[in-house]
């Protein structure tokens, strides 16, 4: 699932198991198919109580959850899950682009919120980012992708040993991209994670910010590290 040469889970690691809780069967099937195609093992539950029971009884690495299910609000389910001691990251999928306080709480808890309608690739990308953030246990002080280095303590960036001048926002953008190196990042994911705004930024805004960063990182004579995934987003990875 990762581009060659990119640091990912060790090869002997077991398959990542994802629980899909979604009351619309066709959507559930599509999400599961998409996850399977990306190398995950997907289990499905079609209502809230069954989903909660499954999440409590088996160990899942991540959960995708429909916000609006008959009988049980997804946010309540997450609460019950956390109370039961489960730490699995949750990706909430909702028809509401709601930015209410409870959703803010969800995001602050390290989980994510995806608005329907969504592209299946976006769901997988968000899940990967969630999992990666979740697995990162020790505090990192330094990030490195090929000859690009980021010193998180001194807040400095180097390419091929030379310092790169970055504005604070550019530093945050680069940090997010390097933390998720080898991973497709959609414009909306970048906008939400780096700027923490949850509305549609339009196509061009993020392109311009990434473009500016790219001119600083991928200088003339250097191998390009930031790759554009046409119509989808960006990926930073070693050449």
């Amino acid at each position: 699932m990762n581009a060659p040469g990119v640091p990912g889970p060790p090869p002997e690691a077991r398959v990542t198991r994802v629980l899909v809780i979604e009351d619309d069967r066709q959507t559930a099937e599509e999400i599961a198919a998409c996850l399977t195609a990306s190398g995950f093992e997907a289990s499905k539950c079609f209502d809230g109580p069954a989903g909660l029971a499954a999440a409590k009884s088996q160990a899942f690495d991540a959960i995708t959850l429909d916000r609006m299910m008959p009988g049980l609000d997804g946010l309540e389910l997450v609460k019950a899950l956390r109370e039961a001691g489960s730490q699995a990251p949750v990706l909430m999928v909702s028809a509401l682009s709601d930015v209410d306080d409870r959703v803010d709480g969800l995001r602050a808890g390290g989980d994510d919120y995806l608005v329907k309608p969504f592209a299946p690739k976006e769901l997988v990308a968000r899940l990967e980012v969630l999992l990666r953030r979740h697995r990162r246990s020790e505090v990192e002080t330094r990030l490195q992708v090929a000859d690009l280095e980021l010193d998180l303590v001194r807040r400095e960036a180097y390419r091929a040993g030379k310092t790169i001048e970055l504005l604070p926002m550019e530093f945050q953008l680069l940090e997010f991209m390097m933390r998720n190196a080898g991973q497709l990042l959609t414009r909306r994911m970048i906008f939400e994670s780096v700027w923490e705004y949850y509305f549609d930024p339009g196509t061009n805004l993020i392109n311009v910010h990434v473009g500016k960063l790219r001119r600083k990182i991928d200088g003339p004579g250097l191998l390009p590290l930031i790759r554009t995934e046409r119509g989808q987003g960006y990926m930073l990875h070693a050449p």
């Binding site: 028809a95 930015v99 608005v115 309608p117 949850y198 509305f199 549609d200 805004l205």
Partner: protein, 448 residues
């Protein structure tokens, strides 16, 4: 008109109540007149009787009988004079027996007509020194007549007042009942779907008119909202038909084609993405409209919001070869949802950058206004024609210029919804050339 309907009207009940109150008052007044005059007349009779008895008692005993007989000759028709022996046998006078209850020296009594004296009379008795009993009395028919007249006046006037009250009440209630009928008919028509219909009002401006006026105001709002919903639905349907038709045509062509090139499928996907993008914007607007007013509101320094949006869009403006000026002086904070304000300003600045040709200028400024801070986003692009300026603020309206550019085209609708949520004011002006959008960040008072 049914009687129960009449009974339920306020006017009728009020007239009836007033009639009853008036009757009670009139009865009390007449009763007082009656009691006072009756007491007065009785006293006068009693006084006369006492004087006459005293006069008779002064007559020497041997002359008393002839004196009584003389008095009877003169006044026997309307006076009583009688003398009884100590053993209560009649000696002379126009009474055969001493009436029961009449005590010598006691209180006066009233006597019904008897064969001896054919009229009601009031009597007193006195004991003479000889032991004889003298009875003096007077006809009191006149007094009884007066009592009767007053009592009948009481009854008749009471009956008349109550009847008149009923008739007047019914007559006065007819008007309101007819008005209510008209209101009910209008209401029936409106409920059946005629939103143009209004409640009838008169020129009087009474309570029914006030009520009908309030209902008419509400109907106006409902009609406007229904119109807006209808327009919105039509706008959405019209807007979505184009990309969906194109996607369908492309799919149809791909079905016929012997070989499908990867780029062709991407074309269809792009069309559908556009549809989805518009749907997301539509959902967003609906969500903003149904959101609880003050959720997420906090004192917000607008200068910080303006600078953030300025930083966010600076690179985009540079890339589009525009001069981008951001002015954010520190001003007192206003009650607002900071995230939504960023979203609104982003949409405005994004629009300004999108529609201003290279070499132009975009200005984002926070200014102190007469009532509170205002945010101005100005460009020197083509602007929005006068006739379209109010339309672009409507729900789901896509300006003509948006139809040829990428994006949902609903940015201004989103801005308008956010501004409405804050009860701020949004204004579009001609910047000659270009468009000037002003958000007056002073919440309007709530009016009904």
């Amino acid at each position: 008109m049914r009687l129960s309907e009449l009974w339920r009207t306020t006017t009728f009940r009020l007239s009836l109540l007033y009639g009853l109150l008036f009757t009670v008052g009139a009865v009390a007044l007449l009763a007082m007149v009656y009691v006072r005059s009756a007491v007065y007349l009785t006293h006068r009779v009693d006084d006369i009787l006492a004087v006459e008895a005293a006069a008779q008692m002064r007559v020497p005993a041997e002359r008393l009988k002839p004196t009584i007989d003389d008095a009877l000759l003169i006044n026997g028709r309307n006076s009583v004079f009688a003398l009884f022996a100590a053993d209560r046998t009649r000696e002379t006078g126009n009474l055969t027996t001493l009436p029961a209850g009449l005590e010598p020296g006691g209180r006066p009594i009233e006597m019904s007509p008897t064969p001896d004296f054919p009229a009601a009379a009031r009597l007193i008795a006195r004991q003479l020194p000889s032991g004889e009993i003298l009875v003096v009395g007077r006809d009191i028919n006149q007094l009884r007549e007066i009592r009767r007249i007053i009592a009948s006046a009481l009854i008749w006037s009471g009956v008349l007042i109550v009847l008149a009250g009923l008739v007047f009440g019914a007559a006065l209630s007819l008007g309101p009942i007819r008005r209510l009928r008209q209101l009910q008919e209008a209401n029936h028509d409106i409920a059946a779907g005629d939103l143009k219909r209004r409640m009838p009002t008169s020129k009087r401006g009474d309570e029914l008119d006030m009520f009908a006026g309030a209902v008419n105001y509400m109907l106006g709002e409902v009609e406007r909202l229904m119109g807006e919903v209808k327009t919105s639905s039509e706008t959405i349907a019209h807007d979505l038909r184009t990309p969906l038709t194109r996607a369908r045509a492309q799919l149809h062509r791909l079905e016929q084609a012997p070989k499908v090139l990867p780029g062709e499928i991407a074309g269809v996907t792009a069309e559908l993405d556009e549809v989805l993008e518009r749907f997301i914007a539509i959902l967003r607007i609906s969500e903003l409209e149904t959101r609880a007013r003050s959720a997420g509101f906090a004192p917000t320094p607008l200068d910080r919001i303006v600078s953030q949006v300025g930083d966010l869009y600076q690179p985009l403006a540079e890339e589009a070869d525009l001069r981008f000026q951001v002015v954010a002086p520190p001003l007192p904070p206003v009650d607002a949802d900071p995230k939504l304000m960023v979203e609104a300003l982003s949409n405005l600045v994004d629009n300004a950058i999108k529609f201003t040709p290279p070499g132009g200028a975009v200005r984002l400024a926070l200014e102190p206004g007469p009532e509170g801070p205002r945010i101005v986003v100005q460009d020197n692009g083509p602007g929005v024609p006068q006739g379209e300026r109010t339309a672009v603020l409507q729900r789901f309206y896509r300006a003509e210029r948006d139809r040829l550019t990428p994006g949902s085209g609903l940015g201004l609708s989103i801005v308008a919804a956010i501004v409405r949520l804050h009860r701020f004011r949004l204004e579009l002006q001609d910047a000659g050339p270009g468009l000037r959008v002003i958000i007056d960040c002073h919440p309007a008072p709530i009016t009904y």
